[in-house]
């Protein structure tokens, strides 16, 4: 089986995996990184949203071969040690989560949005497609706006 080397949350890793195995299952099943969640496997629910070289991607549809030599950040790698990313802190301040299952993906999507668009409008926030089945959208919107104000 081929080997692929890439960086995850600041650490270099090498995995044996078929080229077409999705990054989601490499992270979860081979590396034990469980923050990114399975919700659909076809890039429509966005629960697994993580960053590849700083851009939001959905690892459920990224073949592991595409990650070779690149940098992956999952929710576990977002905080700076014990210091939370401002988006994570805003999520706590607004008590966004209910079941929490989609929230790692929601946070990673919001971080990516704010990186490219530091002052998003309501229409910009509407463009985030991540499903929250608990229906926390109003608090997600507030949290993104307050994170934008503090960053």
């Amino acid at each position: 089986m081929p080997k692929y080397t890439f960086t995850v949350n600041g650490e270099s890793v090498t995995v044996d995996a078929p080229a077409d195995l999705s990054l989601l299952w490499v992270l979860r099943d081979k590396l034990g990184i469980r923050g990114p969640k399975y919700g659909c496997g076809i890039d429509v629910c966005k629960a697994c949203t993580s960053h590849l070289d700083g851009e939001a991607v959905n690892p459920c549809v990224v073949p592991v071969a595409d990650a070779a030599g690149r940098t992956v950040t999952t929710i576990e790698g977002l905080a700076d040690g014990d210091t939370l990313h401002p988006v994570q802190q805003a999520w706590i301040d607004h008590d966004v989560a209910q079941c929490g299952y989609c929230q790692p993906g929601q946070i990673m999507a919001a971080v990516a949005l704010l990186k490219s668009n530091p002052n998003p409008t309501d229409a910009d926030i509407d463009a985030i497609e991540n499903v929250c089945r608990c229906g926390t959208y109003a608090r997600i919107r507030q949290a993104i706006k307050s994170a934008a104000a503090t960053m």
């Binding site: 999705s22 969640k37 919700g39 659909c40 079941c99 929490g100 089945r133 229906g135 926390t136």
Partner: protein, 735 residues
Amino acid sequence: MARSTKESTGIERRRFLTFLVAAPVLTVAADLSTAKTAAAVVPSPPAVAEIADIGDLGILVGLPTAHMIVIEVTDTVRLRLPRTEVGQGITTAVAMLVAEELDLPIGAVAVTLEDARPELLFNQLTGSSNSVRSLYDPIRHVAAAARGRLLAAASTLWDLPTRKLHTRDGAVVAPDGRRATYGTLTAAAADRTLRTGAAQPKPESEHTLVGTPTTRVDARAIVTGQVRYALDLDVPGALPTMVRRPPTINGSVRSVDNRAAVLAMPGVVAVSVIPTGVGVTAETFGQALDGKNALEVTWNRGTVDDLSDSDISAKLRNAAPRFPAPNPLVQTVDADFEFAFVSHAPLETNSAIADVRADRAEIWSGLKAPIIARQTIAAALGLPVDRVTVHVTQAGGSFGRRLFFDGALEAAQISRAIGRPVKLMWSRIDDMRHGRARPASHHKIRATMALGQVLSFEHRVASVETDFRHGIGEILSAAVTHLPIIGNLAFSQALFLTTIHTPYHFGATKHQLSEVPLKMHTASFRSVYSANTRGAEEIMVDLIAEKMGKDPVAFRHEFLKNDRQRAVLDAVASAGNWGRPMPDGHAQGIGIHDEYKSCTACLVEIDARDRAEPRVTKAVIAVDVGKPVNPRGLEAQMLGGLTDAISTTLRAGLHIDKGLPLEGSYSQFHYARQKNTPTDVKIVVMPAHGKPGGAGELGLPAAVGAIANAYRRATGTTPTLFPIHFPVDFEPFPR
């Protein structure tokens, strides 16, 4: 178990016994077995649900075992909670109750989810919006008893009377400033010979934490990705497993035609046949999924292969008896409504870990009724119940779905079949097509009016049978729901009558449920019958008001039954600026709902210029739950109910086509996303009074009515089929 203190709550109607259940660590439990309930005062003319709702019944059957709620005091305090956390915030609410009684920071209280314990009988079921209602008194009494023992231990230590001592920040404090932390007192407090006085919960007037908005206790764990759902656990050797399922509901395996080829695929470890399909176990879920998709299986027919939506609609229309010709001497309003099937669609699909050995089994899963799960799995494996351990994990949403434990049972069957531990995960497509759903329903409603009064209101509901075969948590009651004739249908009638009541003085009021038993996978969905039944009634209320020439808010104000209901109505009408001018294609709408000793009003504004993509742009909700334990969590529940209502009223449902739902993912089942939800949401929590009522399901029905009414006022068209915009706008996945 030594009986240590005996308490009376004085003027309150319940008596509590608390028990010291273990030493040397202080472990206290409370017994409500001597509790007496006051005779209900029967209002007239009441609906059943106004006298004793399903939550009251849940509290009653749970009373004999409520003493199993256990608190352990060491350096920290741990509550073993016989409920599950699925996002509703129960772990935060109960941590607040314990922290309040023991004068601890909430961070010093750990709440763990109790394993399935059959001795808890009816007291380990999470549902019916009943967790806070049923636990509010017992938990406060257990915690007060623990505090009483800690005070007594300090009293002995310092030779001071307990009345001179108090508790603060996790320590007993003496008048001279000496402090003894709970951790240093726990052994002495657990001494069975210790004499303690009566320990009462604090008067509610002295609460400083309960009733204040509090952030979830697991908020930081969630935002850092540290919460462990079932499949995030590391169980040694447990291998990823998925199940290939039949092309129609309840189909079964006739033959697996390419087993060897699939076993030869990369990473595939085992192929197994179980009653519901073919399991593929592999080194990763990606490989299990590839194996599942590559399987060639010959299937036996399912149970509803010939049924499609049109057939089901016809059965439902016929099952709800027609009204006779209207009486010409009175005004009559008739309306029919239909609601499609709706997937619960929690974001974490059905999943479980199972480690089954020859003589024992261990299961991990997010379960709302873990006792029946444990008993059924034991029976399926041919093991004594005490050889099966069922751990309850935090779950990624439920909305009623996790009352059933089909994933846990399948995991156990596959682990037994292949002789190794497995992690079972349903694909999203399977979760929507073979998972459970809120059943479709048909509604015929008639109201008659004369002389400015509503004389009668009758609602005939026909619904595909809702499966209640999870019972109320343990196999004795589940067995009853399996019996023909008196079984599930009797249970559903009881549930219907103990949840549905119309909060208006509409004269002679009658509700009737006719169930159509189809062998499909259904389950209670948030607010069970109320979302459709009461949602439809709120549309009807607007139709009646219009017929009588009255404004929807003014009409409701006149006909609502009590001041609590009028207060939430007034609150949203005021905060939502009811009646403000709206541009063409925009409108306001209002709805009310009352259940489980709580009531709520919802006012929305809708932009329906594009009828295919109407958007609720603003929502104002007022909520009265009697005593809100955590107003912040309560607001979250109302927000969830609102989003469910937006979804199921406007766009989200399942099409049944030849025995299978067509929808297979969120690209097809249109649960709301950010762009479908209001940018302006205001939730008003009414001031505390009385005891806690239910909250988890409350928000949905009023919002369904409000959204449908707003749509009607914006478009001039009365919606009667839900969801309103429901085309098959996708290419279905292969069966």
